[in-house]
């Protein structure tokens, strides 16, 4: 992993009237944005050739702060907007930042179809298990029995495992990390951005102000500690007995395969038509 100085984060932020940011203190969004910036900086990419697209929600506010081509789109539709950009400009690096509700509830259809197409983009799901922006309603990743403003008696609505979902849909790079494991996450983002095809990282994140408070998870430090203590890397998990894995969330890269990528396939069709018409 390349070393990136603190100065880099400052360089990548937009300083013309965009601060203070909208996030609550203790929120993981700042940490994750910083990690995304370090991952981009590490690769020495041309910023003009990177577009960050988001939907609606707390994490979807990220693009406004970062000095890239940025699009804060509609609730659930970030991947569909990103598909428009990528299919028109296949050389553009496209990063989607989205939340658990944005990507798997209202945007679930676009998520699975982008995975199926294996279109080259990197989706970072900031998964805080709640709708934070609207004040704490349960999402498709809210755990069993967890309290939310719309599950006051405890959540009984079954959860998506985002990684399982997109693996089933055909994504070719699938990983999970957390806002605590920033070095690991940074490496995953770099790998995902260099992966040709649909890459997605499910990032466990903390919403101490709403989710944490409603579920007595403690403050920001306690929620960060929980990310450390309640998760296990998949390579380590493979060597542990099942009883040691009870209640643990598995991190790691779950899938990393090469498959034909949508834009490349389209370019081949265009090439084939040209050849036949030249004959």
């Amino acid at each position: 992993m390349g070393k990136v100085s603190q100065r880099v984060v400052h360089d990548f932020l937009r300083h013309d009237k965009k601060f203070p940011h909208v996030w609550c203190s203790g929120c993981s969004n700042g940490t994750i944005l910083g990690t995304i910036i370090r991952a981009i900086a590490e690769q020495n990419l041309d910023r003009n050739n990177i577009t960050m697209v988001s939907g609606i929600g707390c994490s979807s506010r990220m693009p406004v702060y970062i000095d890239l081509n940025t699009l804060h789109s509609l609730h659930g539709r970030a991947i569909a907007f990103a598909t428009g950009i990528k299919t028109f400009k296949p050389d553009m690096k496209v990063i989607v930042v989205t939340g658990d509700g944005d990507s798997t509830a209202i945007g679930g259809n676009h998520l699975i179809h982008a995975a199926r197409r294996n279109i080259d983009m990197t989706v970072i799901v900031v998964n805080n298990n709640i709708y934070g922006m609207t004040g704490g309603q349960y999402s498709p990743t809210t755990p069993d029995d967890a309290k939310a403003t719309t599950s006051p008696y405890g959540n009984f609505d079954r959860q998506f495992d985002i990684c399982d979902l997109v693996i089933g849909a055909g994504a070719t790079y699938v990983a999970r990390s957390s806002a605590f494991h920033t070095m690991e996450l940074q490496k995953m983002i770099v790998d995902a951005m260099n992966h040709k095809g649909f890459s997605i990282i499910d990032v466990i994140s903390a919403c101490p102000v709403i989710y944490g408070r409603m579920n007595k998870k403690g403050g920001p430090p306690e929620m960060m500690q929980a990310m450390r203590d309640n998760t296990v890397l998949n390579t380590a998990a493979a060597k542990l007995p099942p009883e040691k894995l009870e209640g643990k969330t598995i991190r790691g890269v779950f899938k990393n395969v090469q498959c034909p990528e949508y834009c490349e396939q389209y370019a081949k069709v265009v090439e084939k038509i040209k050849e036949t018409s030249d004959e």
Partner: protein, 384 residues
């Protein structure tokens, strides 16, 4: 296809084919869509034609994704569009609002069919006169064009692209199901005879660029992603740079700008056809396929010595207020045949001075069939 040719070509085409050909002539290089009757031919033709030109065609997972993709592509520099029908048009409304507030050029073709809901998928209706104006939440003006023939479908598709690029907004083209599937003779003009308008590109250095330049008479330059300007686009109320704001003066200025760029350019936007109106004491106000019936009715009435004329809007939004006021002043009655429950009639009432004025005579049908010229003529005779 015919649009490749250098000389004007006389050919036979469906309305949907003419839309596809018009889009290509206008310089369309991106289509995202979802299959729906009765607009599907547009997608099928472009699936054939766009890859041949090295341009992009993509079939999305639904209409919501389709409008999102064409907006995304447009922000990356594409001249993009989609074609749909009633149910798909309903699903696209939020995206249309996004294109309007972010001032992103794109074209949406709605080949109208019977509604509400699944309605009459293969029958004509004119149910989206008001939806095309007010369908998206919030309050922003609309540009909506409405052809009455295959030939005009071609011309107005090109115009829709031109207006979208010029005014940086989503332009809607309404087509009637009958027109979409009707074959008519059309002369495809030489490419050199077609006027093409492209978005104004910024010339300032990147750090001077404002995505919504308030100094440019509401027609401001538009950079694309990848050109070095690194601008921000949001559906939130935004300032001139594009950054979100909730300051009343900035949010208000944004809303005013959306309104003014249409209102201040009414003359450029509004197009009407006035047919035998000079001496008419009875007028018919009709658009699209109903104007075809109306024109035939005018001819039949004239043959019988009745002074009947036709006023036909080619641009239905912004509404041609001035032409309608003039018509209302000059005639005794206005017959309004339409394939809905009185949407044009409702708009015309807004322009009638007295609420007791009985000048307006509605003639409506929503059973999936057209109103014939004879029926319009009969209505005229009934009021005389």
């Amino acid at each position: 296809m015919a649009q490749n040719s250098q000389k004007p070509v006389l050919t036979l085409m469906q309305g949907n084919e003419a839309v596809a050909a018009g889009a290509l002539a206008a310089g369309c290089n991106y289509f995202a869509g979802y299959p729906i009757t009765p607009s599907t031919e547009v997608a099928e033709i472009l699936a054939n034609e766009l890859p041949k030109r090295g341009h992009t065609f993509i079939q999305m997972e639904d209409e919501i994704a389709s409008i999102a993709a064409i907006i995304g592509a447009s922000l990356a520099g594409a001249k993009s569009f989609t074609a749909t029908s009633g149910p798909g048009f309903s699903l696209m409304q939020e995206g249309i609002g996004f294109a309007k507030i972010t001032e992103t050029p794109c074209v949406v073709v709605n080949v109208q069919r019977g509604g509400p809901s699944t309605g009459l998928p293969t029958s004509p209706a004119q149910g989206e006169i008001m939806q095309s104006r007010w369908g998206s939440h919030g309050d922003a003006p609309a540009i909506v064009l409405y052809p009455d023939s295959v030939k005009e479908s071609y011309a107005l598709t090109i115009r829709a692209f031109n207006l979208a690029e010029k005014y940086r907004t989503c332009v809607v083209l309404l087509l009637d199901e009958v027109l979409g599937h009707m074959r008519e003779a059309i002369t495809i003009p030489d490419a050199s005879e077609i006027q093409i308008i492209n978005r104004i590109k910024p010339t300032v250095p990147a750090n001077w660029y404002k995505h919504y330049d308030e100094n440019q008479k509401y027609l401001s330059p538009l950079a694309s992603y990848g050109e070095g300007y690194r601008f921000h686009v949001t559906g939130l109320a935004h300032d001139a740079q594009g950054f979100p704001t909730n300051k009343p003066q900035e949010a208000g200025a944004m809303m005013e700008r959306l309104q003014k760029k249409i209102v201040h350019n009414i003359r450029d936007l509004v197009q009407i056809e006035s047919y035998k109106m000079e001496d008419a004491n009875i007028a018919i106000f009709a658009a699209g396929i109903m104007a075809r019936s109306a024109k035939a009715a005018v001819k039949m009435a004239r043959a019988e010595g009745l002074k009947v004329g036709l006023l036909r809007p080619l641009t239905i939004w912004p509404f041609p207020d001035d032409a309608v006021r003039k018509m209302l002043k000059n005639v005794d009655y206005v017959v309004v045949p339409e394939l809905n429950q009185g949407q044009f009639l409702h708009e015309l009432r807004r322009l009638v001075k007295s609420t007791t004025d009985s000048k307006l005579i509605g003639l409506q049908r929503v059973n999936g069939t057209l109103i014939t010229p004879t029926e319009i003529l009969q209505k005229i005779k009934d009021v005389l």
